[in-house]
Amino acid sequence: MASTQPVLLRPEHDELRTSVRKFLADTSPESAVRAVMETATGYDPDVWRRACDELGLAALIVPEQYGGGGYSFVEIGVVLEESGRVLWPSPLFATAVLATTAILSSQDLEAAADYLPPIAAGTLRATVATSGALVATRTNGTWQVTGTSSYVIDGHTAELVLVFAETEAGLSLFAVNGDAAGLTREAQSTMDLTRKLAAVCLEATPARLVGTEGAGADLLERVLAAAAVALAAEQVGGAQRLLELTVDYVKDRKQFGRAIGSFQAVKHRCADMLVDVETARAVMVHALWSVATDSDELAEDAATAKVFCSDAYLSCAGAAIQLHGGIGFTWEHSAHLFFKRAKTSQLIFGHPVHHRRHLGDLLDL
């Protein structure tokens, strides 16, 4: 129970945070986010290119021998917190977290050598399809995958789609090129416009086995754990931003001749937001270290982060709308953008009810 993982970031992380925050302030103000979220692709290629060239964000956790930054999951956590803070619509999550983690964890050196350098260079956008029931068969040496996977982040734009499919040896990871035969992708219309999802349909689509055949189950669990912790970082960033927006508003907004923040009904709800944010931050930072060090408790920490940070973000988003009053319900105000991200990031990769069940199993309850 008494884990020894750190619960603080290091001073050097502040510098990383500062440069990312400045970059996003310059390149992705809310006006830009709103413009990009109305596009079909859902990201700004120029901003993504600059993010890769100037900050090396796509390369962050790619090992140096593949042209990456060789940083740990803690560093990408800092970046995700900042990206969640402004709801940055970009290939970061799918490419630099999901796909990169899947390839690294597969321990397939050839695949790593082929895919990680272009990912690090920002010339290959990739994603991972984690849901759906797909089947892979081998006919004279080449694999073909058939089946559909929905709710795939950036699934309609990714140039490389990693999918999990069943073979005779069990669940296995496969790489599918964006232009592969029999691959069709359909964008799904999402509640959260700042994060695009797609249904990916494969019909006897040629695919490349990544890692050991049959090793997919453990690999999937590892990818989902990393995904949950990465989401937690985004969630804390968003919740922190909502707290700041709300506190500023209730200090400024006057009713009955007083700043509404002086009323206990408002003040105490802000205090509860603070409690949620600070507690979620402790959970999130600890879970980042847990991924970075591949802790024995990673599964528990990831489930804990998914449950706690999802709920904390959503209640902060609900409080933010309520405390802003009518204005917080309008399209023009940013509160709803965070609310929609909060709700959908609670639902993706398994609802808290599912993760509580899973955690109960892990705890042998």
Binding site: S131, S150, Y151, Q188, S189, T190, M191, D192, L193, L197, K254, Q255, F256, G257, R258, I260, F263, A265, V266, G318, I321, Q322, G325, G326, I327, G328, F329, T330, W331, E332, A335, H336, F339, K340, K343, T344, L347, I348, H351, V353, H354, R356, R357
Partner: protein, 395 residues
């Protein structure tokens, strides 16, 4: 409900239904219903009523809808529910004569012009100015959250006529012609993508003094008449029942009903069923008490309950959908494409429900009302009491 009333109502209903075809032109029917005194039965004869107990209205409405007749409420809810009673209570005979009939027939739709950017919970803080020029008033300012504003002919306008007295005392109530030059209505888009509400801008818009309701400076009292009818209307309009019904359908549609996840969600679903049933009984109790002439706190209580329950029930619907709950129809949907409840998907209902705890009195204000007016707890220290509005607004 006495026999005299019964005779009157039945006679009037019989005459109405035999003389006008309920399936015909609704305005013609509603006009005849008004003339028959069956529009607001408690109103005086000649003003759409029969001067009898309000309890008869339910009976009248049931009889007419049983005959497939039209409803005077549906097409003009703010007019029928709030405008009519306010004009009756505070209007001159001429105003009542001019306004009530076309209001009931739906020829003239009404909207409410109370809320402003800086007058939300603190409604008496309105800053929209009305300056008198001869027998006209010149209006400048902005209103917000105006539903029906884009189709309304008349607006119930609360404006400040004297900034130099404490805020509740400097207000006057007007019936504003929305077609007057200087009145501009702009739709206000919500997080659902829809635009139920509007902003209304006044630039030197002119209102004849003959459309002033009650005395100059008496606006707050008139507004309270309107608001008391609003809260009642809302608790009628807002309901968690559709979301509960949807949640039950969605739960039944799940393939994994024996899984631990589903069993946990089922417990949430049944708990909601219990609380929504409890709230339904509370509303019935409130109605029964009102019919017995005893107005209890059930109205505000039901609003608070319904808000929480609808937000919880719409959320449960989304949770029952799981990953599918991440999808959303379209944010640029015409209202026409929406179903009876105004929703195409549980997700739209879920987003829409976020406003329930704000519209028609925030839950915070309702808690104050219950605490102060019902339980008699002392009010907060008021820093803006007895100061002139101009001073309070600028400090």
């Amino acid at each position: 409900m006495d026999d005299a009333g019964a005779k009157l109502v039945d006679a009037a209903l019989a005459a109405l239904l035999s003389s006008v075809d309920p399936h015909g032109d609704p305005r013609e029917f509603l006009g005849a219903q008004f003339d028959a005194g069956l529009a607001w039965v408690s109103f005086p004869v000649g003003l759409g009523g029969l001067d009898i107990s309000v309890e008869w209205q339910t009976y009248v409405n049931e009889r007419i809808s049983a005959a497939d007749g039209p409803s005077g409420f549906a097409g003009n809810p703010l007019g029928y529910g709030m405008g009519g009673p306010t004009v009756l209570a505070h209007g001159t005979p001429q105003q009542q004569e001019r306004l009530l009939r076309p209001l009931f027939t739906g020829e003239e739709i009404w909207c409410q012009l109370f809320s402003e950017p800086s007058a939300g919970s603190d409604l008496a803080n309105v800053s929209t100015r009305a300056r008198q020029e001869g027998d006209e008033w010149v209006i400048d300012g902005q209103k917000v959250w105006t539903s029906w504003g884009h189709v309304a002919r008349w607006g119930m306008l609360l404006a400040r006529t004297d900034p130099d007295v404490p805020k509740h005392r400097g207000l006057t109530y007007f019936i504003c012609d929305m077609t007057t030059p200087g009145v501009e209505v702009r739709p206000l888009r919500q997080m659902t993508g829809n635009a139920e509400f509007n902003e209304v801008y006044f630039t030197e818009a002119r209102i004849s003094d003959s459309m002033r309701l009650d005395a100059i400076g008496a606006g707050w009292a008139v507004a309270l008449t309107t608001l008391s009818n609003e809260r009642y209307m809302l608790s009628e309009g807002l309901s968690a029942e559709p979301a509960l019904a949807t949640a039950i359908e969605l739960w039944r549609a799940r393939a994994d009903r024996d899984s631990p996840e589903a069993i946990v969600l089922r417990d949430r679903l049944v708990d909601l069923h219990v609380r929504i049933r409890a709230n339904r009984l509370t509303m019935r109790r409130g109605d029964a008490l009102r019919d017995a002439g005893d107005v209890g706190p059930q109205g505000s209580i039901a609003k608070l309950n319904t808000v929480r329950l609808n937000q919880a029930a719409t959320e449960l619907c989304v949770d029952l959908l799981g990953e599918e709950g991440m999808l959303f129809g379209s944010y640029s949907l015409a209202d026409a494409e929406l179903n009876d409840y105004g929703y195409d998907t549980p997700m739209r209902a879920y987003l829409r429900a976020r406003a329930n705890s704000i519209e028609g009195g925030t839950s915070e204000i309702l808690h104050n009302i219950l605490g102060e007016r019902v339980l008699g707890l002392p009010a907060e220290p008021r820093v803006d009491k007895d100061i002139s509005w101009r001073v309070a607004a600028t400090h």
